[in-house]
């Protein structure tokens, strides 16, 4: 299983990546962790003529907080996400989810930017970015733009990322006090993609839910934001009835296909169950409630 022939580039600066992307267009591919791209290349489902390895660029790694934003470098690995004190304290849904992605070896290589840019509906981070209302910094030689994750995903392996663009940063609004969050994923075995998974964030004030978001993994062409599920809990005390209504709404919104991970009915039911569990856990994590 050897990939096709390509030329390997390992630039040290973002500008050099952008120049190579501009030069090669469709023939060039960014290599981050390589744990989606290399398997595709081995199967010859991807045969880029040029590989642009971004692992030598220190500025693309790291996690910091600035002006109410948590800023994550695109080439930060899942292992680094799991080990981040900042994220574990302020945005634990990301390290929690990272622990549910693949296995230790894969997490040592796989990056959060690769997970978000890949466009595979099986990836776990996109739904979380939808729930967190994160945005992505995309750069090309002409400049940079900031695009909401909620506008990024178009279809299977189709995103708003242009051929000459590099995802450099992920911006997550630092969750306000009184916010709880949870990612619940059911899979066949450790290391597998989701049968179904739900990401939930919710904010409580005086016993009432003031804001909420619910997003789903691997039950549609892209990660799905379920606005109806969020509406079902907003304004409520997030009691059992509201949670059931949200689960029903998420099940109505999802569009799973039958595959080796289960039938449509089963996966739909699991969307409901993961939504219920994620809401309950997010609620239990609202500080002081």
């Amino acid at each position: 299983m050897t990939p096709g022939v390509f030329e390997y580039h390992r630039p040290n600066k973002v500008e050099d990546v952008l120049a190579l992307l501009a030069e090669f267009g469709d023939d060039g591919k960014v290599l981050a962790g390589g744990h989606s791209l290399v398997p595709m290349m081995k199967l010859r489902l991807a045969e880029p003529a040029h590989i642009i390895d971004i692992n030598a660029i220190a500025s693309l790694r790291g996690i910091r907080e600035e002006e109410g934003m948590i800023v994550i470098g695109a080439a930060t690995t899942q292992a680094e996400i799991m080990g981040s004190d900042l994220l574990n304290e302020k945005c634990r849904i990301l390290p929690d989810a990272a622990a549910l992605i693949a296995d230790p070896q894969v997490r040592n290589c796989g990056t959060i930017g690769g997970n978000c840019a890949n466009g595979d509906p099986g990836n776990d981070d996109p739904a979380i970015m939808l729930a967190l209302n994160a945005s992505y910094t995309l750069q090309n030689q002409a400049g940079q733009r900031q695009i909401a994750a909620r506008e990024f995903y178009e279809a299977v392996y189709t995103t708003a990322l242009a051929e000459d663009e590099l995802l450099t940063e992920i911006h997550v609004p630092a969750p306000a006090k009184g916010t709880g969050m949870s990612y619940q994923k059911i899979k066949r075995k450790v290391g597998d993609y989701a049968i179904a998974a739900a990401a939930v964030t919710l904010s409580m004030s005086a016993g009432q839910c003031t804001d909420a978001a619910v997003a789903l993994t691997n039950v549609g062409d892209t990660a799905l934001l379920s606005l109806e599920a969020a509406e079902a809990i907003k304004g409520s005390a997030v009691d059992a009835r509201a949670i059931d209504r949200a689960a029903d709404a998420a099940m109505a919104d999802c569009e799973p296909v039958e595959d080796m991970r289960g039938t449509v009915e089963y996966r739909t039911a699991m969307v409901g169950e993961m939504t219920r569990r994620a809401i309950a856990e997010a609620l239990s994590r609202v500080a002081g409630s």
């Binding site: 299983m1 050897t2 030329e7 390589g34 398997p39 296995d103 230790p104 290589c109």
Partner: protein
């Protein structure tokens, strides 16, 4: 064929070689250098038989290119023993029956080596999660967990004695 010169350290020895960009690290080790400890099980990034330690991290050598290891420090199962003296993990697998056919063992050992470097006293649960990227098709994981526990205890005792 575009090829690149790479230099790296493998089990403490400096190595220089010309590699084709598309050559996977596992093929470079096994076919070009005849370092056949790391195995090819699935070749699809799942089984962990190809696990090696690159710059202090466990990675699957079937899913990275040899050119990516340029400048790196690599450890394979061949580098674990100290001369004729087995590494405590190797001794643990031997004592606790942590292998049958041994196909998965080089990957298990290199992965467990890094796990104990990162977490010298793991719980059984942490051992299981730590080895979750390594599949064994015959032993059953019970004895593998015991073997890692054995090694952790032995290493910790030796360090306590110092």
């Amino acid at each position: 064929m575009p090829s690149k010169k790479i230099s790296l350290t493998i089990n403490g020895e400096a190595v220089e070689a010309d590699v084709e960009a598309r050559m996977l690290l596992i093929h470079f080790l096994r076919e070009q250098l005849n370092i056949t400890g790391p195995h090819i099980g699935c070749e699809t990034s799942h089984c962990g038989a190809c696990t090696v330690d690159l710059d202090g991290k466990s990675v699957k050598a079937c899913t990275i290119f040899a050119v990516q290891a340029d400048g790196g420090e690599l450890l394979t199962v061949e580098g674990l023993a100290n001369g004729a003296e087995l590494h405590p993990l190797q001794e643990g697998f031997f004592q606790c029956h942590g292998l049958q056919c041994s196909f998965c063992t080089p990957g298990m050992l290199t992965r467990a080596y890094r796990l104990l470097q990162d977490n010298p006293n793991p719980s059984d649960e942490e051992i299981r999660m730590g080895l979750s990227g390594n599949l064994c098709r015959c032993t059953g994981y019970q004895n593998i967990v015991k073997a890692v526990r054995y090694a952790a205890d032995k290493i910790n005792q030796a360090e306590g004695a110092n």
